[in-house]
Amino acid sequence: MEVLYKRYYGYLFAITLRYVRHQEDAEELVNESFVRIYANIGKFIGRGKDEEFENLFKGWLSKICVNVSIDFLRARKMRLSLDDMDIEDTDMPFVGVSEELQVQDILKIMDQLPELQRTIFNMYEVEGYNHEEIAEILNIPEGTSRTYLMRSKKKLQALYLAHHEHSMLGR
């Protein structure tokens, strides 16, 4: 158990930090995830060899971790307001992710997104859920999931550009 915990702690912690802002929350959620993992490890079905098996296992871990995080947000009555978007529905200029942009910077930018938008962005873009699954898990209409994803991307791009310009000026 200890080896498992120490090996995947950082992996689950990184996932959790994408959903919750505070380190303390994330630490507790990681522990809750491990509780579920240990309790349900007998249910894990692995196949394949080595890397494939580990990928499957990590996928299983991440699903548990995401669920724990979403449960947490849901229990905290995640904001569902639709009126917190001030980004116009206009195309954002293309921009590439700078090589110098660190994950911590991306996380900081994402922290500025409203909670629901950040969650949907993470679930769709990073975890690979589709809109139907997101709608079911978050108990929102599928269209809302799509809208929020679009808005989150636009806002992220805007925030990223601002961050990029700021860092360029700082040089």
Binding site: V3, F13, I45
Partner: protein, 496 residues
């Protein structure tokens, strides 16, 4: 797909990849913290290390522990309120009797004899006989399907080289050798429903045999049945959705403890609260709380007595106090006196030639039940304000009247001729009397207007704590009472 779209796709893919591949460093001490908080160390008799015999303490069991703790705290609080002896807010309370029409009885021996002479009995206040069962049951639980089945002795332990096996030939041959990761202690077995089951996840050590050597057909069959159904679950539901039971998105429960100040004294109370989510920021909150409130009529201060009760002329019969009725109720309410350190006995024969009683005020100790109905609005994520009304009931009231008695003749021991100063002849006694008069109990709407602001902080994923200064203004019948019921204080609300 135009070029811009393609670039955008790459942008998001790049960002997602970076996030996906990112790992936080291991935080030193995290495992130890997890082990101490989330694992029940068990089965020392097996001779296994504690963590090997550990079973996971679920959130469910933690939740029960929390609930038991909170319930115990609530019981303790209620017990304190219920059993707390009625405390007269005025220092040095004296009188323990309220006997209509009875002559004066005193606290000293002389007074006792005076009472006996008058044929009356002092009625002692009965001790509060209510008792309150206390105690909280200890709740423990373990996950049934993650019970260590570690053998008691190494000789009977399964081969540490046994590996996680799956149903079917392919799964039975599955190895974890190059995974080098999922290493659960050698010899430990994961069990399902208490049966010896599967997995000895070992294999970080090179050279370990990783065959399903110990697996019997029976076990394989069991695995097939378990994994088969679970496989479906996992494929349909990501993770273990629904493992945890929340109160629900719409409802929130809480326990509150409040310290409140009336014009008279500091009080305590507590109760349960329930909130219903009307919208993203708006909640309807209700509940029930019990509190002790010490209230009093506005103090007359140095302005002199607030009410005149009566006076007795020389030679008057006992109990014949005449004059306007004060809050003490019926006239003739008599008692013993212990004012300003002086003890005076008053017998029928010794009724002062000039005895004046003035009602200086009254105080009451109330056991109250409060049912609020508030609208709670979150201004920000953490700060909220609340406005509403309370329905207010009085379960018990202990009222004390405060009198100023002025008696001159019996206290005059000297002779006018021998130089004794007449100024000592007039003694002023401060008298406290309990009374059966219960003016606050009765029909009609009694309530408060509630105002509060609060700040909510989460202490764990399930529990939040709010500190909420509040202010309550009496309305309805309470507003017309002579007692000042206005109160305010700080409430601490633990929400679930």
């Amino acid at each position: 797909m135009d070029k811009n779209d393609k670039h955008n796709m790459n942008f998001w893919k790049d960002m997602a990849d970076r996030l996906r591949e990112h790992r936080e460093p291991y935080k030193e001490g995290a495992w130890e913290q997890f082990e101490s908080h989330y694992l029940d160390n068990a089965a020392p008799a097996t001779g296994t290390p504690a963590h090997r015999g550990a079973s996971v303490r679920t959130m469910g069991s933690r939740w029960k522990s929390w609930s038991a703790g909170v319930a115990a705290a609530a019981l303790l609080l209620f017990g304190m309120i219920w059993l707390w002896p009625s405390v007269d807010p005025v220092e040095d309370p004296v009188l323990v009797q309220s006997n209509e029409g009875s002559p004066v009885t005193g606290s000293g021996p002389e007074a006792a004899s005076a009472g006996a002479a008058a044929g009356t009995d002092a009625v002692p206040i009965e001790p509060n006989e209510r008792t309150f069962a206390r105690g909280a049951s200890r709740v423990t639980s373990q996950i049934p399907h993650f019970v260590s089945a570690t053998p008691a002795s190494p000789s009977t332990a399964p081969d540490p080289a046994e590996t996680l096996t799956k149903s079917g030939s392919v799964r039975n041959e599955l190895t974890l050798a190059r995974l080098e990761s999922i290493q659960i202690h050698s010899g430990s077995l994961l069990t399902a429903s208490g049966q010896e089951l599967v997995a000895n996840l070992s294999g970080s050590r090179p050279g370990n045999g990783r065959t399903a050597s110990g697996m019997t057909k029976e076990k394989n069959g069991l695995l097939n049945s378990i994994f088969g159904s679970l496989n479906e679950d996992l494929s349909i539901q990501p993770g273990v959705k629904g493992d945890r039971t929340y109160t629900g998105d719409k409802w929130a429960l809480g326990l509150s403890v409040a310290s409140m100040m009336t014009s008279e004294q500091m009080n305590v109370g507590g109760g349960l609260s329930v909130a219903y989510k009307l919208s993203d920021r708006l909640f309807l909150r209700s509940g029930v709380s019990v509190a002790r409130l010490g209230v009093s009529t506005p103090s007359s201060g140095n302005r002199g007595p607030s009410a005149y009760v009566g006076s007795i002329a020389s030679g008057g019969s006992n109990g014949g106090v005449s004059g306007p009725q004060g809050p003490s109720g019926p006239t003739g309410s008599t008692g013993s006196y212990n004012g300003s350190g002086n003890v005076a006995s008053i017998s029928p024969e010794a009724i002062p030639t000039h005895y004046t009683r003035l009602l200086n005020g009254a105080s009451s100790n109330l056991l109250t039940l409060d049912v609020p109905l508030d609208l709670k609005y979150f201004i920000t994520d953490k700060f909220y304000t609340s406005l509403g009304v309370s329905f207010f009931g009085i379960l018990n009231e202990n009222r004390t009247n405060h009198y100023i008695d002025k008696i001159n003749e019996p206290l005059f021991n000297g002779y006018t001729a021998n130089g004794q100063d007449m100024e000592f002849a007039m003694r002023t006694l401060l008298v406290n009397e309990t009374t059966k008069y219960r003016p606050l109990e009765g029909n009609g709407y009694a309530g408060f207007l509630n105002f509060s602001v609060g700040r909510q902080t989460r202490v764990s994923s399930k529990i939040n704590l709010a500190i909420e200064p509040f202010f309550k203004l009496p309305v309805g019948r309470l507003m017309r009472e002579e007692m000042n019921m206005t109160n305010g204080g700080i409430r601490i609300v633990t929400g679930f």
